[in-house]
Symmetry: C2
Subunit: 484 residues, 2 copies
């Protein structure tokens, strides 16, 4: 029922390259029984509602339910399930928290969804080595709560409380990337179940060194592979020392150019800013309405600095001076957690503020990344495109990396409006490509950006990726229809 | 002649897995003429001396000369030469500055060595985007000289003035990695000629964004692939703002444990140290003799801090306090370039100081990397191994990453001593593996560590690497006999 409802709701979102199985081929009863024999009967479901829940993420992509959902309790069971599926030609779709935004969990050809959230142990903390090993059920917030008294934290923060293994699979990043890097920079090792069930440790079993020049970088290949090469069953992460103090700041600018110029100057001055976020005037207006704030309706930077004592004061002074040289006004800063939270309220509630603009609508977030010098022109162009498209949208950016999101709200029952969303998102992707950028800085390709990926990496690039996929997943059963 | 001399000299170094072609199959005269037609007659050589020069790097590995050396003038010529070799089944060996230390350029099966140093342009500087594109003939020192007035620099520093594309191929790092990362973290895009001559841009042609989640991380796959998957013909690098000020410091410790504990505490305190190098007592003694210094003959840390004004003072104070809590003595620091240079003299001259211990000997540097908490025990064990082996060696480490080198000197004409070097290096690699480390932090696998790589990544790891190699180089012609 839920599945039918979803299909009716999102079925009209006509992403290019959408690949339908036609009629759903059900799994045989014997195969379902065999799955139950491996993971235990309570940990297999073929109920329509459960399947529908697992056939979609937080995007507007049409729900595509798997034929069955299994919850393995350990890596051996994952191996066995994968091997069974592989030998029978059944597609395999890994599932974490379902917080992706490019349709990565849609079961395009049915198959078995492997929900990994029951494997939720923090396996090993090596505080002195700044590393930790987590299973797929561990989310970033859970990890940081666990680390609270260790003096360490894991800074990669995509917003959602996502599974850390899922974040590795997507190559996630977020607000702290400008200082601490993305998942690519913070994954030290992965335990991966290959499509045929074999177990791979990308950097060798149990290893957690800081750097290596030993052989091909398998860790780097699986980070960001979006479940198309194997199932990540444990991730070894690099941890960072908790900053002694944190200062948050905000300021408004007369133009997008002035805000981005400030960002470039702050980076050029080697101010080790931890977060530097941009919200456009539309976004600020929405935040004012939603959170009853009184912020200037202008391009605004939200900054955060991590450090200690005098160094922190110096960072804030340098940033303020640079911002003021670029015409900034309303520079405010806060040190205590509550005051910081209040200052950053607009940024934290941006998504809900957008949704509140049109009650009953659904949100969609698309992302691109360009060289930062090109950011002003693409933001200005995008605002014009938004106007021309008649869509409701605003811009929020991890501007220190040249990465920004366009948050759109649309009526999920309005096929014509959904079509405009699609056209707009593709146009944005192409604008980024034309400026030497990428069609996605952190959301991944999933279903929606496969055509853009081809345009981005060219014929030889896409051929090379196809070769890698065919090598590691010769039967094409791992999360089929995604990325390529 | 030179070739025969080298063969006689190093032929006794019996690395395990050494793969001989048996009799040298010469290239046909027609093939050599065809090479000349592509790159121009002056840019092809089959002279024995030239071939011998190109058949070895700075290691003790036996010289294995290629059949011919070519100097392409541009990427089209590289493509044409590769395609010719590929179609004729001729091995291809990329050559940069020849400063590798694991035998990466030895022509194990003969073939054509492609010396890329005539392609030496800095193609594109995007100062505002903190990126630059360089050809293989550009070394790190040349780049930093070029950047001098831009306020930017490229910090990865393996010691040698290596080709930046070669550094990408090896996955090099060095003293600044603790703060600025390794090549893995600083390569944004690669132009690669695939074995069959096709041109791949790993992140898409002309792109230089800071981050991306678009498809498989091809850049990461080629960084550190040691010329076994393709020829890197251009690298897009991430640049960093020049630090406003630099302070160097040194201090001596009562034990290895105390020096390493200080390192861990400095990192835990989030002091953004730029370099933190360890020299053991043997190394310090050799440096005193060679450079006529009067440093304490004790485990010593060499530190460097980058920053501005008050923040820098705070960094140095914090580090000094931590060191003193761990029993450090002789804490000295210097700010002006000349004084810094003098303070770090021992570190800068370590290699020559070792060679001077036994005039006429050759040096060999092997490297491993372990989780930093395991560093004291492996350094202590290694010092015992050195003693037991009767070899002359000392330890120099990029201790902030858990990465260290053992610098050995040996008589190249003494087969028995060379054998002990080999046994010692393997033992060191296995000690690192037993402590969850890697057999090489930055030198690569090359010829010498292929067996250790297998032990490090296990059966499925090595099978996966073999599959990748077979996919991208199905005829096994790219730098054959290396890594796998």
């Amino acid at each position: 029922m839920a599945r039918l409802l979803r299909a009716a709701t999102w079925g009209l979102f006509p992403w290019r390259g959408y690949c339908s199985r036609g009629t759903q081929e059900e799994l045989s009863k014997g195969f379902v029984e065999a799955l139950k024999a491996v993971v235990g009967p309570p940990h297999v479901s073929t109920a329509a509602a459960v399947r529908a829940q697992h056939g979609q993420d937080e995007s507007l992509h049409r729900c595509q339910p798997p034929d069955a959902v299994v919850w393995p309790q350990n890596v051996d069971q994952v191996s066995q399930v994968a091997a069974m599926c592989y030998s029978q030609g059944v597609p395999i779709i890994p599932f974490g928290t379902g917080t992706g935004v490019e349709g990565g969990v849609c079961a395009m050809q049915g198959g078995v969804c492997i929900n990994l959230t029951h494997m939720d142990r923090i396996l090993e903390l090596n505080a002195e080595d700044f590393s930790v090993v987590v299973e797929p059920g561990v989310t970033r917030k859970t990890l940081n709560t666990y680390l609270r008294d260790s003096g360490l934290w894991f800074p990669v923060d995509p917003g959602a409380d996502a599974s850390l293994c899922g974040m590795a699979a997507t190559g996630a990043s977020g607000t702290n990337a400008v200082r601490y890097g993305t998942m690519k920079d913070n994954v030290l090792n992965l335990e991966v179940v290959l499509p045929d069930g074999r177990l791979l440790h990308t950097a060798g079993r149990g290893r957690h060194f800081r750097k290596s020049a030993a052989g091909y970088n398998l860790t780097g290949l699986f980070v960001g592979s979006e479940g198309t090469l194997g199932l990540i069953t444990a991730t070894t992460l690099r941890l960072h020392p908790l900053p002694e103090d944190t200062v948050a700041a905000t300021c408004a600018f007369p133009s997008v150019q002035a805000a981005v110029d400030s960002t470039v100057h702050i980076l050029q001055a080697a101010v080790p800013v931890a977060r530097i976020e941009f919200l456009d005037d539309v976004m600020m207006d929405a935040c004012n309405r939603h959170s009853k704030l009184n912020c200037p309706v202008a391009p605004t930077l939200f900054l955060e600095f991590h450090g200690s004592g005098q160094a922190l004061v110096e960072q804030v002074q340098q940033a303020e001076e640079i911002a003021q040289n670029n015409g900034a006004s309303h520079f405010s800063w806060a040190k205590e957690p509550e005051a910081r939270s209040q200052l950053w309220a607009a940024r934290h509630n941006a998504w809900y503020a957008m949704l509140a603009l049109r009650p009953g609508s659904k949100g969609y977030s698309t992302d691109v990344c360009v060289p930062i010098s090109r950011l002003p022109e693409i933001v200005v162009q995008t605002k014009e495109d938004l106007k021309a498209s008649g869509l409701t949208g605003a811009i929020v950016g991890h501007v220190g990396d040249g990465n920004f999101h366009c948050l759109l709200v649309a009526n999920p029952d309005d096929a014509e409006e959904l079509h405009r969303v699609k056209v707009f998102a593709e146009q944005l992707g192409r604008r980024a490509l034309a400026l030497h950028g990428t069609c996605t800085g952190e959301h991944g390709i999933g279903l929606g950006k496969r055509q853009l990926l081809q345009e981005e990496v060219g014929t030889v690039g896409i051929e090379t990726m196809r070769q890698l996929k065919a090598t590691l997943d010769p039967r094409g059963l791992m999360n089929p229809g995604k990325v390529l």
